[in-house]
């Protein structure tokens, strides 16, 4: 895949005496637009990169701090934006365009790459001191003591969030306990929901097509008015399940009871489905088979979608997700099978082959 490396916003194209590109700390309109597109489109997010290497901010010199980041352009942008008024160096590791946390998990934001990059950027010649500051969330990929052994540079783990960097730097590279904690507030969750909704739309398209065929299918052929009249309530319930699993559950996460994401999603989807079944006109879901189908299938679908959000959170563990899957996957398969049987029964009833 061809990967576009973004031209760094060099502005006037200034460089330092060491021939290092100086980058501005302000964002251009393109930078802001890029962030939005990353949150919406996988194709953008997966190819949003800056060139690995070393960059300067302000009037960086031999005593300026060195901050290390990933070559996902959004990570780089969030970092440089916080450095307004500071003189600093930024060392960008080649994480193949992945953010610090995920790249640390894969080891690309890692010990080896850091050692290699310190040497390749000739950092020991550029700065007099022997310290590099890493984002704390890079720690799962980096063995600080090994870096020190091989390069002489000690690793300081800075704050989790770039927004705390100014305070950290002013305090002489000291992080408060608060700076060391990951948060996951409403806004952060909201920003991540499009990445749940958009991938789910593919499956939703298949669902809508299936609803159209199933409800349109009559002994005479596929009838549009039948598909529309009978299928619409089911399509509405499907939309509610999609939104409850990919949007409502992530947003309301702390307030939905139980710790399991599968259970949270099931509850949210169950309530959404029950409310809609109640609100829809009585003739919309006349068949008891169809009602049973709706009350089983849609909460299960919402549960499955909510479980996907475990990957976006900052507080799930792999052991926990494994446990959830071990219990939930067989239940999803069973729910799917029963739902299918209920649909067949409904269809037979609909055609008057009555049971």
């Amino acid at each position: 895949m061809a990967v576009e490396l973004f031209d760094l916003p060099g502005g006037s194209g200034r460089s330092t005496a060491e021939n290092v590109t100086v980058v501005p700390t302000e964002w251009s309109r393109q930078d802001a637009w890029g962030r939005l597109r990353c949150r919406l489109f996988n194709s953008v997010r997966m190819n949003y990169r800056v060139k690995p290497g070393i960059y300067a901010v302000g009037a960086a010199d031999g005593r300026s701090p060195v901050l290390v980041t990933a070559n996902y352009k959004l990570s780089f942008d969030l970092l440089r934006r916080e450095l307004s008024g500071f003189d600093a160096w930024i060392v960008v590791l080649d994480t193949r365009g992945i953010n610090v946390w995920c790249a640390a998990g894969k080891g690309t934001f890692g010990t080896e790459e850091l050692i290699r990059r310190i040497r390749a950027t000739r950092l020991p010649e550029i700065v007099e001191h022997r310290r590099v500051i890493l984002p704390q969330l890079g720690a799962p990929g980096v063995q600080a003591h090994v870096v020190k052994e091989h390069t002489g540079f000690s690793v300081d783990y800075g704050p989790v969030y770039a927004r705390d960097l100014p305070a950290y730097l002013r305090a002489g590279c000291r992080a408060t306990a608060q700076m060391r904690k990951v948060s996951f507030d409403f806004r952060e969750r909201l920003e991540l929901t499009p990445m749940e909704i958009v991938p789910a739309l593919k499956g939703f398209g298949i669902f809508l097509a299936a609803v159209f065929v199933l409800f349109g299918l009559q002994p005479e052929g596929i009838l549009f008015h039948s598909a529309f009249n009978n299928g619409l309530p089911v399509a509405i319930l499907g939309t509610a399940a999609l939104l409850s699993g990919t949007f409502l559950t992530p947003l309301l996460l702390p307030w939905i009871p139980f710790r399991s994401f599968a259970v949270k999603g099931f509850l949210a989807g169950g309530i959404a489905t029950a409310v809609l079944v109640f609100l829809l006109p009585a003739k919309a879901l006349q068949s008891a088979y169809l009602q049973a189908f709706a009350l089983l299938f849609f909460p299960a679908a919402s549960s499955y979608l909510a479980l996907q959000f475990t990957g976006s959170t900052t507080f799930t563990s792999i052991s926990g997700v494994k446990k959830e899957l071990k219990i939930a996957l067989p239940l999803y398969v069973a729910a799917g099978a029963i739902a299918l049987v209920l649909l067949v029964l409904y269809k037979l009833q609909d055609w008057g082959i009555g049971i």
Binding site: G97, C102, G105, T108, P140, Q143, R180, G320, L329
Partner: protein
């Protein structure tokens, strides 16, 4: 927010701990606390098994089966066989969704 109780694989061997406190520094979930000259686990259920403490303990006093708690990755791994594949890229693979 906390995830499921009693599932985490984190272990700390006090006899190897030097009390340097590096784990307290890298842990994003305040799982450890200083206990005199060594460190102890104070909030085990908050651990997300990221592995930062184990990686940065030069005394080998911490063990945890680390990985990313991502259902999509685990399901991908089940379907394709083998290790969890999160499809976030980084292996120059086609990207799907997650982080």
């Amino acid at each position: 927010m906390k995830y499921l109780a009693n599932v985490v694989t984190l272990e700390l061997f006090p006899e190897r701990c030097s009390g340097c406190g590096r784990c307290l520094e890298v842990c994003p979930r305040e799982v450890f606390a200083k206990n005199g000259k060594t460190v102890r686990i104070v909030d085990r259920d908050s651990c997300i098994e990221c592995g930062a403490c184990m990686m940065n303990c030069s005394f080998g006093a911490i063990r945890v089966n680390s990985g990313v708690g991502c259902a999509a990755a685990l399901i991908n791994g089940l379907i394709r066989g083998g290790e969890p594949q999160c499809g976030c890229g980084g292996n120059e693979e086609r990207g799907e969704s997650c982080c």
